[in-house]
Amino acid sequence: MANDLARWQFATTSIYHFLFVPVTIGLAFLVAILQTAWYRTDNPDYKRMTRFFGTLLLINVAVGVVTGLVQEFEFGMNWSVYSRYVGGVFGAPLAMEGLAAFFLESTFLGLWLFGWDRLPKRVHLATIWAVSIGTMLSAMFILIANSWMQHPVGYKLVHGKAELNNVWALFINPTFLWGYAHVILASLITGALVMLAVSAWYLRNQRHVESFQRTAKVALVVLIPAIVIQLSVGNKLGQVESKYQPAKIAAAEAQWNSCKPCSFSALQVGGFNPQHENPTKVIPIPHLLSVLATGTWSGPVTGLNQLQAQYRKKYGPGNYIPNVEIQYWSMRVMAYLGSLVLLLALWAGWLLYRRKLARSRVFLAVAVWAVITPFLMNTAGWLLTESGRQPWIVQGLQKTVHANSPLVTATDIWISLIGLIVVYMVLAAVDLGLMLRYSRRGLAQADAEAAERSETSAAPALTY
């Protein structure tokens, strides 16, 4: 019971945290681009748009930062056995994250926010880039840590504990390299889709057309290459994972028995548990699974039943198959929505080329609503990766069921789970309310505030 609750708590808080993280990483980068454009061209419109999207970034950062604290505390609070077992490996990247990334991000965010009238233009531009680099470094270290749980490398077991013995191995872990590229691209896509949606909303309402046409263009310049590259990076990550965590990918395809060549199930009804392995309805695409999983036309894929038999032999009795339904649907949500975003991006590119972007009302309406897709894809991606590792907390080394704090009671976790959910719902309501309010309020008010600030620029402006 306590173990299940601890899992629910970790899943809830990390999914929630990761709604905000990619927006922060993506928007920080895009805001830095806007400010660079202002620095280069001296066009005040870019400055205005930097501030406009900077405000959205800050509203979002606030929640992202504080919910990150929960994540750091949770390992020790709920997973003390895990923490003792892996601290000698897993702790190091977390400490590096604090030293290398969090300090950079928060110190320079303060400098950027309060430094508009106080720092030279060039230095002030450097501060937002430092923020952007900080967010990306933070993602790097946390993915190093997470990838070690997916594919442990560079350690040895000392007195029954995992201890680091090769730090470089953590940095070149293939799961990390491809996973990191995947997350950064996902974040850029998220940020770009947010910027595109806000811009499209203004364009559709014919407000500040010139300004938001600019930002739509900037968003697309990031979005189009990012989504194109992402499809192949995601595919490559899938291949890396089928090598090191074959059950994860076999479950994502509901592939119960080994096959060669393997067809891909485009959609299916049923077939998600060992009692009903055969789907009642399925749309198969011949050879596609072989191509996706192995990169060859007729490559073999080991089925879940065969993997289960292998793992039983290796690790003893137990169920080694992750939840197939979660795997199957998160993979499809991610892949299909990703393809739709690609189509949207290409459509936008075409409209941009024909100089019709600001006038295509259908496109603008779709682009506004497309803002939902990255959040669904990001969540599905983490479900796929984390649920797919089960029953392991560290693949092949420690099972989740053995990792929680033994003497923390179910009551304790219920209290904290309910408390956190209440706080998170309030934060979500406030954040969403403020995001919508500040997205829609137009540029006039932002301009007025900026004017007020520069009047008082003799004294440090009251930013908060």
Binding site: V66, F73, M77, S80, G87, A92, I415, V423, Y438, A459
Partner: protein
Amino acid sequence: MELHTIWFIVIAFFWVGFFVLEGFDFGVGMLHALVGRTESSRRVAVNTIGPWWDGNEVWLIVAGAAMFAAFPGWYATMFSALYLALVLLLVALMARGVSFEYRGKRESARWRGAWSWALTIGSLLIPLLIGVGLGDLLNGLPINQHHDYTGSFVDLLTGYGLMTGVTLVMLCLLHGATFLALRTTGHLRDRARAAGRRIGVVAVLINLAWVVWTLVVIGGGTVPQPTQIFGMIAVIFAAALTNTDHDGWAFFASAFAIAAALGQIFISLYPNVMVSSTSAANNLTVNNAASSHYPLVVMTVVAVILVPVVLAYQGWSFRVFRRRVTASPASADTQPVSLGAAAVATDAPAAGVSSSAGPTTAGGSSGSSTSG
């Protein structure tokens, strides 16, 4: 010196740094609605820490992560033992953390009042709860031979733990008051000094009581340790200097006082990291809770490279915003803050935004709902 010991010192350094820096943020958070009677003076108060509080809070994150990396056993036992206290701490950290950004985002007095409350209560709860936790490390908690905490939430509320929490809250209040006096002008500075004087008297007494209690807990006899003596002197200096124009020195003294308090906890703790009240054999120590040699070497290299860099840019950030904050554009430009030097009085023009006005005349929207 062994790497275990070095990392114990590094972690103590992060905790001391956290309280020296974020300590005044907590103090300002607790005091902002009290010394700022009008909305504009409250904003000034909050803005004195605006550019820095977030970076200061990272010291806490790094302290926690360094414990995880260098002493996994300590991190695991402490965080699971303090479970519900930490849940409360997290809620306080979250409410306070977003309050800075969200407080000014709407004009409504109720909205601002609510976030002011979140800021005030959050800033009070965080040092209180951390103090309880750190006090308990030293005072001892029921810990079994597997290094698991066998008590409940109520067992965390030991007398010494609570005393440590209250002491840290008082020191943060004093630190916040000296900081506000250093960073503001006019009536706000006057009110911060007045608050500092009153807090100072209480802080001296509480700190004295805590020092004595600490001696009892560590069985140190009747002779105070050097850190404790320096700490006592620093608190007295900070309290006394709030009466003078030496804002910089008062701040310096309160920083020293808070550093001495935190330092004392870790000095008393060593070589233990968590004392077991069940049996001394179950104590967690720098040896039995530590990571092995190689990860500590890696972390040492990383820290040697990065800590100076971090100190450099945080220091730069303090330099960039060193001027006093004021709501009035007219007077403040020429006032760099220098340590110890009595700042030139600027009362008259700086009061331009009616910070002298009582709460009743504060003008419509300025949120008098938060005072007190």
